[in-house]
Amino acid sequence: MTSLALREHEAAATAVAAVAVESAAVAAEPGPRDISVRRLAKNFGERRILDRIGFDVLRGQAVALIGANGAGKSTLLRCCLRLIEPDEGSITLLGEKAETLNRRALRRLRARVGFVFQRHNLVPRLSALTNVVHGAQARASGPAYWFHSVAPRRVREEALHCLAQVGLADFAAQRVDTLSGGQSQRVAIARALMQRPALVLADEPVASLDPSAGEEVMQLFVDLLKREKLTFLYTSHNLRHATHYADRVLGLREGRLVIDAPAAQADSVALRAIYDR
């Protein structure tokens, strides 16, 4: 490493530390918490993916989680809903301790949490409307919620309303494998809205889109969530998205939380330093 690079690296490390110190004040903010994570750890074999992570997300807050590939962001989000079982620690979501819940109670908790994936994860052969109707399975089960053609009228209307909110009402009958990446991701957002969630998690929701579509979808997503005053935790590699759309930024590095700072005060050098190899 050259001396200049070394100096830049040291400066960045100092910035990371400074921001991490600030995070104490954020964590101490009063108000109800929709997410509380304490000493969360997860190993895959010998490899430590999450190393005693702890943070809170206040109700109504938008929080961005950044980190290099393999830092543990997706694992952390999946652990929150126990799509991946954590090894240690506790997660309290919407007032419920996720790790203590049985299968039925866990399903009830998941129903209150919208999850938008990097790859939209829609069922490709089905229409946009049917994919959104699937969101109603958060509240009710049975064949009536498997396909829009057999769903009750009120459910179909609500699904169409959700599609209209993301600007895709005209595409309701279209198969999702004929939609563009941006349109598909908007259908996935509509499906999450159909759940009537109290909290939304999103795993790099626009990473698979081109910059223009990504910007458009991110703006729409955040606007909808702010309008509904929903709590929002999302991962991103886009530092502008992290600081522009979030109230707070969390930074993961090698499974450890090294940044927890208000987005407005987050130091761009410190944020970039998190990607240093």
């Binding site: 998941r110 999850f115 829609l122 490709p124 052969r125 089960s141 498997w146 996935a188």
Partner: protein, 270 residues
């Protein structure tokens, strides 16, 4: 830059010589094949001596006798009906059994293993044996054959449906699990729609297979055109047998063509 400059120093051998164990296994496999040929009493001499008999039979087959064509066509329709109903019944029963035989969706490992074992059992016992069993259980006639074909279909489709469901994209399944959908909701909302093309392909292949199988089941009294063929052959009415064989050929080809057309439609439809 010349070719020699960039070429690797030594090309690898086209074929690696087998190890001692592999060589011994090849020799053992060859010995088994030779022993099997010996046990079936295969002889070129016997085949050549049989050729005049085959030629004589073929000569007697022409021209085919069409005098019993109406009865033969009725038996042919019955044969296809057995294949169609047997396949439909088998398909309906295969789906739930296949779900139970899918590791991700089976409610318990014991249920998973029991379902897999049942499907394997249905598949490994030949349809002719099932037909014999059902002839004793429900009597002579097409119903016994239909049940035999249904069981055979469960054995075939149960396995392929389960494998298609195991291989289905996990993304939509994870999304539905994440929103709190039930296990059945995930299966019917995400897995089954994704597997529809594969299911239809398997179902069409099964219909072709059961159509061919339904011809033979008549030999044990399980309905269909097989019994007509057996009687014609036993009475040396080779010209009538020729008519029956041509009818069977036309039925099987028609089903295969129709199935192929439908399959192309499914593939084109994604």
């Amino acid at each position: 830059m010349t070719l020699q400059a960039v070429a690797p120093k030594g090309l690898p051998r086209r074929f690696e010589p087998p190890g001692v164990l592999a060589f011994l296994l090849y020799v053992a496999a060859l010995a088994v094949l030779v022993a099997a040929i010996d046990s079936v009493e295969a002889s070129l001499d016997g085949f050549i001596r049989g050729l005049p008999g085959i030629a004589n039979m073929l000569a007697q087959m022409f021209p085919p006798d069409l005098s019993r064509l109406p009865q033969i066509l009725r038996a042919l329709i019955e044969t296809f009906a057995m294949a169609l109903v047997g396949t439909a019944l088998g398909l309906i029963l295969s789906l739930p059994l296949a779900i139970l035989a899918t590791r991700r969706f089976s409610p318990h490992p014991l249920v998973y293993h029991a379902s897999r074992a049942l499907i394997a059992f249905f598949r490994t016992v030949p349809d002719l044996i099932w037909a014999l069993f059902f002839v004793i259980a429900v009597g002579l006639g097409p119903f016994a054959g239909t049940l035999a074909l249904a069981i055979d279909t469960i054995g075939f489709c149960g396995r392929f449906f389960a494998e298609a469901m195991e291989e289905a994209d996990h993304g939509p399944q994870e999304a539905l699990t994440a929103l709190g959908a039930s296990r059945l909701g995930v299966v019917f909302s995400a897995v089954v729609p994704a597997c529809v093309p594969s299911f239809i392909n398997t179902a069409l292949f099964t219909l072709e297979k059961t159509t061919r199988a339904s011809v033979v089941l008549g030999l044990v009294g399980a309905g269909g055109i097989g019994i007509e063929l057996k009687v014609a052959m036993d009475l040396f009415n080779y010209d009538q047998a020729a008519t029956i064989i041509v009818c069977i050929f036309l039925l099987v080809v028609a089903v295969e063509r129709l199935s192929s057309l439908l399959r192309q439609q499914v593939i084109a439809g994604g």
